[in-house]
């Protein structure tokens, strides 16, 4: 029942906001819908944590502790982002970068986007999963080009084409999956239900599945932003409105990775070797290293943090590739930490860029003077994302690196090198933005700082203390991923 | 024990009293060697007396440090003299400070004098202080290395025990000591502001080191400093004797040997002073920038001495 509402609310929200148009309090309504969604997600989570995995709608939906954790995360970040976008979008309107019609588009497709992601997370049907992913892409394409500047159009076009191609390949992978499944399950609806597939994964034809996995990995991997398929990501993050960047790197990447993980579980079962894991580790490592070295050259702040998202996604993929209880646990933890921290950073960056009217880091100076809370938010967020204790990102990185150290020692030098380079680059660029002297005007609206510190507070807490039930929950999820 | 304390005090006083005499003797010899008519051997005493009677003239901005330094230096030198065995070998005070502490004492005196020299803030004062520290930062470790060689041989850093080992144990040839001796000679020349490092009898700005530091002193302060300098020369000579030709120094609790020991020390000092003045007469003062080379050589020799000890005697 919660599930129905969970999916229903955002969709109705989308439609409602589309019809109702941009009125004065549309942002509040947007936030309200997100809040309701969050509430539903909470209820659902409680249910799952109590009663364990469950099937809904005669098998079309399946919720276990893995995806319910992502559902909760998605709903939460979606809500905080809605809160953040309230003043942000108003200020954008003040600055005349957006008008009512575009804001209408923004709000309705924001809800649709959230709905699509939730659908992708909760569905049990690999086909529907694909449909939902495609829907999420389409919902965000127009958001990326919301400013209608040449740059944003270009970014959106690249985003659309590259992800479109990727997603098409993923569809091919799904077809192959179905092709293999129908041998066992017979043709018809059930052959794509993940639970059924999971039940019979040992009998699925290995050659087909390995082929399918390649297509699925390249397909969904494009959306995860794994190098060298990542090319769209920095452009889309840098040119879209900041709330969109926040949800893109905070949520969409996770969902895409979730899709990869679901298929990995099947393929592992079918092949009985760790081909899938090896591929993922390769992709992950490549992404981490490449992103780290690309960060060094960045001048645009959002672009830089986009690359950092690639780096962290690579890290998570690497962790999942290693497999095993600890690594999966670390991967899930890192997913959470990255979503929270990165979205917090984008919130802070968003207001910073609004203050200065530019995204060029050389022109942003002395935030700590003009708006101390904002400055400290950005500084602490950066410190957190760079894996400095006591923030939670360190906890997960600690686990990942230590696991890598005694399972794949060869990989550790690359990881540490990349992390070191990224640290030097990002911190060296953020420090002068936060510190130093400057003269800047005030903003027309009080920027939203609650979300930033809410997220950072959570990250800090998780770094020092992970509540037992949360830990148990992660462990369960890690186990589902074949820990 | 009480006898020991008496002996200790007696010895220290003896050193303090004899020190100017040695200075006088050296000056006399040098005068002879230079063909001048020599001042009487008691000249240093007279000048000290004269200085003590004068009124002290002190710069306006002199701080208490400036006035305290001479006493400090004198005290340090007296203590040093009290540690080094001159005639007798049992010194109750010597356990309080071994050779390393001895180096420390010299350093303490030097630092205080250098600070005092900088206190007034005259160009010459700071110049003197700088040069003094330049000399010392090479001379001090070199001296330490010399002591190390000796104490490696005698397995101790206590001077009486070193002396006892070198003088009264079975005689053995120590090549390392030869190096040490040469190094020690060079060091003591430098430390006592003698030619070729410094010239005690000049106020030429290009050359002076020790004199430059004490330019601002007068009367009793100057007297104390001069006396301390003489004491330093005495102590160094006594050290050299104790380390390299210790024969004749009275062993523990042997009162009978004292007169002989006294005679021995006087004789050795006389010879040593003459040698010093002879060296000064035949050698010329080196340029200041050559001084580090000179002392560097001393340092290297001392280290070599130690190495040789490890190689041949270890």
């Amino acid at each position: 029942m919660e599930l129905f509402w969970l999916l229903g609310i955002p969709l109705t929200g989308g439609i409602f906001l589309a019809l109702w148009g941009y009125r004065r309090n549309a942002p509040e309504i947007n936030a309200l819908f997100s809040l309701l969604t969050l509430a539903m997600a909470a209820l659902l989570t409680v249910r799952i944590v109590e009663a364990g995995p469950m099937m809904v709608g005669n098998g079309w939906f399946f919720i276990d502790s893995f995806n319910v954790f992502l559902v909760a995360l998605t709903a939460f970040v979606a809500f905080t982002t809605a809160l953040f976008s309230r003043p942000y979008m108003r200020i954008e309107q003040e600055h005349g970068r957006l008008n009512a019609t575009r804001l209408r588009l923004y709000h309705s497709s924001y809800q649709i986007f959230i709905g699509a992601m939730l659908l992708a997370l909760t569905t049990n049907n690999m086909g529907i999963l694909w449909v939902a992913m495609e829907a999420a892409t389409l919902a965000t394409v127009l958001l990326v080009s919301l400013y209608r500047t040449p740059a944003s159009l270009e970014a959106a076009w690249k985003y659309f084409i590259l992800c479109g191609v990727g997603i098409a390949l993923a569809l091919f992978g799904t077809i192959l999956l179905y092709f293999a499944a129908e041998k066992v399950l017979g043709s018809g609806g059930n052959a794509l239900l993940w639970t059924h597939l999971n039940g019979v994964k040992a009998q699925l034809e290995p050659t087909v599945l390995s082929l399918a996995f390649v297509f699925l990995l390249v397909g969904y991997g494009t959306k995860v932003g794994l190098a060298p398929l990542h090319s769209w990501l920095p452009d889309a993050h840098a040119e879209g409105p900041t709330p969109v960047s926040a949800v893109l790197s905070g949520l969409l990447l996770n969902v895409a990775l979730y899709a990869v993980m679901r298929s990995k579980v099947l393929v592992d079962g079918a092949l009985g070797n760790d081909m899938a894991g090896t591929l993922m580790m390769g992709f992950g490592l490549l992404s981490v290293v490449l992103a780290a070295f690309l960060i060094v050259r960045q001048t645009d702040v959002k672009r830089m943090f986009a690359y950092s998202s690639i780096e962290h996604m690579g890290l998570i993929t690497f962790a999942f590739g290693m497999g095993g209880a600890v690594a999966n646990f670390a991967g899930l933890l890192h997913m959470t930490m990255h979503s929270l921290t990165k979205s917090a950073i984008f919130f802070a960056v968003g207001h910073a860029t609004q203050k200065t009217g530019t995204q060029l880091m050389d022109d942003i100076r002395g935030l700590i003077k003009t708006n101390p809370t904002l400055g400290w938010g950005l500084m602490l967020g950066t410190v957190a994302i760079l894996g400095m204790p006591p923030f939670g990102v360190f906890a997960s990185e600690f686990l990942i690196i230590t696991t890598a150290m005694h399972e794949h020692p060869w990989a550790t030098p690359f990881l540490l090198l990349a992390l070191g380079v990224a640290f030097a680059a990002i911190f060296g660029k953020v420090q002068p933005m936060v510190f130093g002297e400057t003269e800047l005007p005030k903003l027309p609206y009080q920027p939203a700082q609650t979300p930033v510190f809410l997220h950072l507070g959570l990250v800090l807490m998780l770094g020092l203390f992970i509540p037992p039930y949360l830990a148990a929950w992660y462990k369960q999820a890690a186990h589902l991923l074949g820990g | 024990m009480s006898a020991g304390i008496l002996l200790q005090i007696a010895q220290t006083l003896l050193a303090i009293l004899l020190a100017p005499l040695l200075m006088g003797w050296v000056n006399q010899c040098r005068a002879w060697l230079q063909g001048r008519s020599a001042p009487p051997i008691t000249q240093p005493y007279r000048s000290l007396r004269k200085l003590f009677h004068k009124d002290a003239v002190i710069a306006h901005n002199a701080s208490p440090l400036f006035r305290f330094a001479p006493y400090m230096k004198f005290a340090c030198m007296a203590l040093a003299a009290g540690i080094v065995p001159t005639i007798a070998n049992d010194l109750p005070f010597s356990p309080a400070a071994d050779v390393i502490a001895l180096v420390g004492i010299f350093a303490l005196a030097r630092v205080f004098l250098a600070l005092a020299a900088m206190d007034i803030g005259t160009p010459f004062g700071t110049l003197g202080a700088r040069r003094e520290m330049l000399v010392s930062f090479l001379a001090e470790p070199a001296l330490l290395m010399v002591f190390f060689t000796a104490s490696l041989i005698s397995q101790s850093t206590e001077l009486p025990i070193i002396v006892a080992t070198l003088a009264h144990k079975t005689f053995a040839i120590h090549p390392s000591l030869a190096f040490a001796a040469v190094a020690f000679w060079m060091i003591s020349v430098a430390e006592n502001a003698r030619i070729p490092v410094d010239n005690p009898s000049t106020h030429l700005e290009l050359t002076m080191i020790h004199e430059a530091m004490i330019l601002e002193y007068s009367a009793r302060h100057l007297a104390l400093i001069e006396w301390a300098a003489a004491l330093k020369l005495f102590t160094y000579s006594a050290l050299g004797i104790a380390l390299f030709l210790p024969w004749g120094i009275a062993p523990q609790g042997d009162i009978a040997a004292l007169p002989l020991a006294l005679a021995a020390i006087v004789a050795k000092l006389a010879v040593g002073g003459a040698a010093l003045s002879f060296m000064e007469a035949v050698s010329a003062k080196v340029r200041l920038f050559r001084v580090p080379e000179f002392l560097g050589t001393a340092f290297l020799l001392a280290v070599l001495g130690m190495l040789i000890h490890f190689l041949l005697e270890g």
């Binding site: 390649v214 690309l294 | 005070f93 309080a96 005259t122 470790p141 330019l215």
Partner: protein
């Protein structure tokens, strides 16, 4: 002892409570952002009390057996483990003792700071203290790393307190970067140490069986990681930048205490966590330490900025400590337990001394900075007349760090040199060759330290003020004086009662080397090995000096007179002389620079005879920067340029990437 026995169970709880107390103080400072009065009058005194409390805990820990506890925080499978044994207790005493004086000083130092920044500073300050204590208490890798990085991060924010100045920002960045790299090395160390158990508590590491190869790997990583924090050459570059940049009490904490946490870690890993030790580690550490010591003191001698000079001198002292560490290892692996105990004692003693006198000197410069607003020694001088308290108290620190008897610096130096003298009889002959040279180097460094201190003290406090404004320099405030008094007093007491201190170090030495010093006879006479071998009695020494001084003084006064006439300085009768004719800092360091110019990159602009405002500027920089760090930066830049080529905007190319990846993977999985 009975009342202590009752304490036994709770001492660790108390220590943790102290940490929480500090955190509480820090965050309450954040709440008091508006009340400036409360901030200055309340927060720092409370912090100081905490420091005193920590010192007390440390003393208790030295007397009590080791105790440990597990906190309900941390990772699910790896909660925070805490442990208080002799080693950590000793360093807690060091921390508490030094931090108390410094924090008391801070009460006065930060009086005039604006409330907002002050609140933040207080927060970071107490976070810094809490982090350092937690580093000492941590008993598993995760807790250690968290505390370690909290320490680094908070100190970074303290360093960048005055972030308006670009140099300071740069210094802070360099500091945090190198600290982070060091931390990564430490992470690797623990990774190696846990030897495949996957369990990161120190207890498992203690039990882990390791081959010499992996042990060496762990040791080298630890040496790098902790060396980066301690400022070991060649990873010292951040230190002379960061320490001067911070506010003086913070510099004092960083130099005096934080560097010691690195020493603590080194001891912890080498003697406690690692089962086996190898001789060549000792030789390596000895060599590194000596190089560092010499390098540091040489650069200290040529500095013209007073805080930078002190920072370099910290590098020197760390070098001496690490050399002692190396010697300890050599003896330990050579089965010379007693000697290892001696060198270890010297090491700990020196660490303790350095905490106090370096703290004292840094806060002293702090007062000078406040009174004159000037850090360049070339603009100071003659302050002994305007600020006597600061001057005389700093003098004690200067004499102590110069290693002069009867102060504390001399004691540790003396012990170390004794250790060198005891080396013959080592099994490896090559060591017997190395030792004399090493001893010579240490002696040389010590002598140069005296040079440095004469320069430091003479140029700043003595002479005539090089700037008329200095006439109005005001004396330090009372809290500042009290803080300095505490530190100076510690320097004196540590110098006068070495035997007591050494007896009190015994548990630590016993724990690490399994040996105790043989010949400690009585409280008066310090005889590390035996009375015949060597002895030193600072009290008698002091008594002797004072007696002679007093006697001479009385005698001069009795027999002659005390008449004094004041006049102009004579100065060889030079007609005119002004304050500019005194040696500047550069001038005083010039001989050293001339001798050791090979190590330096000297930039000199000398005036030509014809310009109207002739001015001289000389700056001697570290050559290693060009040799090591620049190439690394260039390489990174080059690599990133290569990477950037991939990202060149044509969508066709991006499609080709996907296409090729797909084909490649398809071929791969066939």
């Amino acid at each position: 002892m009975s009342h202590l026995a009752s304490l036994d169970a709770h001492v660790l709880d108390l220590a943790w409570a102290g940490v929480l107390y500090w955190l509480g103080v820090g965050f309450s400072a954040l709440l008091l952002q508006r009340q400036h009065g409360l901030l200055t009058r309340l927060i720092f005194p409370l912090g100081a009390l905490g420091a005193l409390f920590m010192a007390g805990i440390g003393v208790a820990g030295l007397l009590l057996p080791a105790s440990s506890m597990v906190l309900p925080i941390g990772l699910p499978d790896l909660p925070f483990h805490l442990r208080l044994d002799a080693l950590s207790a000793f360093f807690m005493v060091l921390l508490g003792g030094a931090a108390f004086g410094i924090t008391v000083y801070a009460c006065g130092y930060f009086r005039n700071m604006a409330a907002g920044p002050l609140a933040l500073l207080a927060l970071w300050y107490h976070l810094f203290l809490a982090g350092m204590v937690t580093v000492l208490l941590a008993d598993d890798a995760y807790a250690f790393m968290v505390a370690w990085e909290v320490m680094a991060l908070s100190s970074y924010f303290l360093v960048t307190t005055d972030h308006k100045i670009p140099e300071i920002r740069r210094a802070g960045f360099l500091y945090l970067l190198i600290a982070h790299i060091g931390a990564v090395a430490l992470l690797l160390t623990f990774g190696v140490l846990q030897g495949g158990h996957g369990d990161y508590t120190f207890n498992t590491m203690r039990l882990a069986e390791m081959t010499p190869f992996w042990s060496s790997a762990a040791f080298l990583l630890a040496l790098f990681g902790f060396g980066a924090k301690a400022g070991l050459v060649p990873i010292h570059v951040w230190l002379p930048e960061a320490h001067p940049a911070a506010p003086s009490p913070v510099s004092a904490l960083m130099s005096g205490v934080m560097l010691k946490t690195a020493i603590y870690g080194l001891l912890r890993v080498t003697f406690d966590l690692l089962k086996i030790q190898l001789g060549w580690w000792g030789t390596l550490a000895l060599a590194l330490g000596l190089v560092t010591a010499l390098y540091g003191v040489i650069f200290a001698a040529v500095q013209s900025d007073m805080k930078r000079l002190l920072a370099w001198s910290s590098i020197e002292n760390i070098g001496v400590i690490v050399a002692a560490f190396g010697l300890t290892l050599i003896f330990h692996t050579d089965g010379k337990g007693a000697l290892a105990a001696l060198t270890l004692t010297a090491l700990l003693y020196h660490a303790l001394n350095h905490a106090f006198f370096k703290g004292l000197l840094f806060v002293g410069t702090g007062s000078v900075l406040h009174a004159t607003g000037e850090r360049r020694m070339g603009r100071l001088g003659g302050l002994i007349r305007t600020m006597p308290w600061t001057a005389w108290l700093t003098l004690i620190g200067a004499l102590a760090i110069a290693g002069l008897p009867p102060l504390n610096g001399f004691v540790s130096e003396w012990l170390l040199l004794q250790a060198f003298l005891l080396t013959p009889g080592l099994t490896q002959p090559y060591l017997n060759m190395v030792i004399p040279v090493a001893a010579a180097t240490v002696a040389l460094a010590a002598a140069l330290a005296a040079y440095v201190m004469v320069k430091f003290y003479g140029v700043i406090f003595l002479g005539q003020p090089r700037d008329p404004a200095l006439q109005h320099a005001h004396e330090a405030s009372w809290p500042e004086r009290l803080g300095m008094l505490w530190l100076a007093g510690a320097c004196i007491l540590l110098g006068l009662f070495p035997t007591l201190v050494i007896q009190w170090l015994e548990p630590v030495v016993l724990m690490l080397t399994g040996q105790r010093l043989s010949g400690i006879s009585n409280w008066l006479l310090l005889t590390p090995v035996s009375a015949e071998r060597a002895s030193y009695a600072p009290l008698i020494f002091l008594a002797g000096v004072t007696a002679v001084v007093a006697l001479t003084y009385l005698w001069v006064r009795r027999v002659y007179h005390g008449r004094v006439r004041r006049s102009e300085p004579w100065d060889c009768g030079y007609p005119e002389q002004n304050t500019r004719m005194q040696d500047s800092a550069e001038g005083f360091g010039q001989p050293i620079r001339q001798i050791f110019e090979v190590f330096m990159r000297v930039e000199r602009e000398t005036p030509d005879p014809f310009d109207h405002h002739p001015h001289y500027h000389g700056d001697s920089r570290d050559k290693l920067w060009l040799l090591i760090y620049q190439p690394i930066a260039d390489l990174t830049a080059w690599l990133s340029m290569q990477a950037a080529r991939l990202q060149h905007g044509r969508i066709q190319w991006y499609l080709i990437y996907s296409f090729v990846t797909l084909i490649f993977l398809l071929v791969l999985t066939r």
